[in-house]
């Protein structure tokens, strides 16, 4: 990845800052959310420029796509009155001057510390690449996520599990008034869903040696699920299979950790000979769970008796 700065980078940074501010300061919350979605897409371009295609894939699908869908859904449920805000929502008032000064102070501290860092730095790239042979995969980001720092990823799936439990614990909400059945949406669903599943499987497999992996695959699957819900409303928390799918990823990951602790070199220390297969197993289970959890987060807990 080229390290020089192009004119494109300046354009991108200016657009990012402008859209980021408009996403916060637009008086109309609907406009703000739409600008936030576009902002997310531009952020994923920034990841590509910075040589992080794995992050770009996740950002485009999760950061911009799913977060945008969640925000728009909530906005629709708030109704016209709930969605209105002040005319100048972030206008400077005496009470906000302190917050503005504190933010400015943080900027000064952060800029000073970033400028104090050396321009070039060995980082952890060399150790990460040296151990790649024993990690079971050849994509260093996947190796970091599933092998070197498996704890982080295990706990991350735990956080997802907690989030969906939190959403399910809250009282049921009435379904939004159903839109009339749209033949185009049904057709789109029929064409896109198999493609989504195939692409997710491909991302899962390719993650071992190229940008991709469980999170990116899960994000695609979740997008397919959200589309499904929009075309034919789903009722997710009701069934046992859904609960099983939600805990599958965490259970498999934890099970592998316990097994390696009992029979192997320690918790989540994979033997190099089986590491590739173990990682694929964990990633497949995690992909299913993450996708189902994300769709469940979107669907929420529909009231009894509604479809």
């Amino acid at each position: 990845m080229a390290a020089e700065v192009h004119a494109l980078d300046f354009v991108l940074v200016v657009l990012l800052l402008w859209l980021g501010w408009r996403a916060l300061a637009s008086a109309d919350l609907f406009k703000a959310v739409v600008q936030f979605i576009v902002f997310g897409l531009l952020v994923s371009l920034a990841w590509v420029r910075l040589g992080a295609p794995d992050v770009a894939l996740a950002e485009a699908a999760i950061g911009a796509g799913l977060a945008g869908a969640l925000l728009l859904d909530t906005l629709a449920r708030l109704g016209r009155k709930g969605a209105t805000d002040e005319v100048r929502p972030l206008g400077l008032t005496p009470a906000r001057a302190g917050i503005a000064l504190a933010s400015l102070g943080l900027v000064i501290l952060l800029v000073a510390s970033v400028l104090a860092l050396p321009e070039s730095w060995p980082g952890l790239t060399a150790p990460a690449l040296q151990q790649l042979g024993a990690s079971g995969v050849t994509n260093p980001v996947t190796a970091t996520l599933l092998n070197y720092r498996g704890y982080d990823t295990l706990l991350e799936i735990g956080v997802l599990l907690l989030a969906v439990l939190g959403v399910w614990i809250l009282d049921a909400e009435a379904a939004l008034p159903a839109a009339p059945a749209d033949p185009m949406l049904s057709l789109l669903l029929r064409v896109l869903l198999p493609l989504t599943v195939a692409a997710a499987g491909y991302l899962l497999w390719v993650g071992a040696h190229a940008p991709g992996g469980a999170f990116q695959g899960a994000a695609l699957l979740a997008a397919g699920g959200v589309l499904w819900h929009l075309a034919r409303p789903l009722s997710l928390p009701a069934s046992r299979p859904v609960r099983a799918a939600v805990v599958l990823g965490f259970a498999v990951f934890l099970g592998v950790g316990v097994a390696t602790a009992v029979f192997g070199g320690g918790f989540l220390t994979f033997p190099p000979a089986y590491a590739g297969a173990v990682i694929l197993l964990i990633e497949a289970a995690a992909m299913v769970s993450i996708a189902v959890i994300m769709v469940a987060l979107f669907v929420g807990r529909p009231a009894q008796g509604t479809k």
Binding site: F39, A100, P140, L170, I293
Partner: protein, 104 residues
Amino acid sequence: MSLGLLYGLAGIALVAMGLYAALAARHVLRRLLGLNVLGSGVFMMLVALASRTTEIAGRPDPVPHAMVLTGIVVAVSATALALALLRRMHRHDDSARLPEDRLP
């Protein structure tokens, strides 16, 4: 100016904007947008600083990339839970503002 420095400074600006909006806004949805922009700024700083290893090691540092990937997923799940809490508050109190921000 290096790529890392440019995007690192942009990340700092996003952190400041997001922090200001999260604290100053009254509508909870706008506060959440602020937190998300703040998060994007932190991720951008991490990935920008990771690109500093390109000259010495030949590629950006994969460890911050993995951390950001984890962070994006955690951020969206936390946002989803917060939005569910916001919808519940709105159902029960008929307001999308926290009690201390409501008009008397």
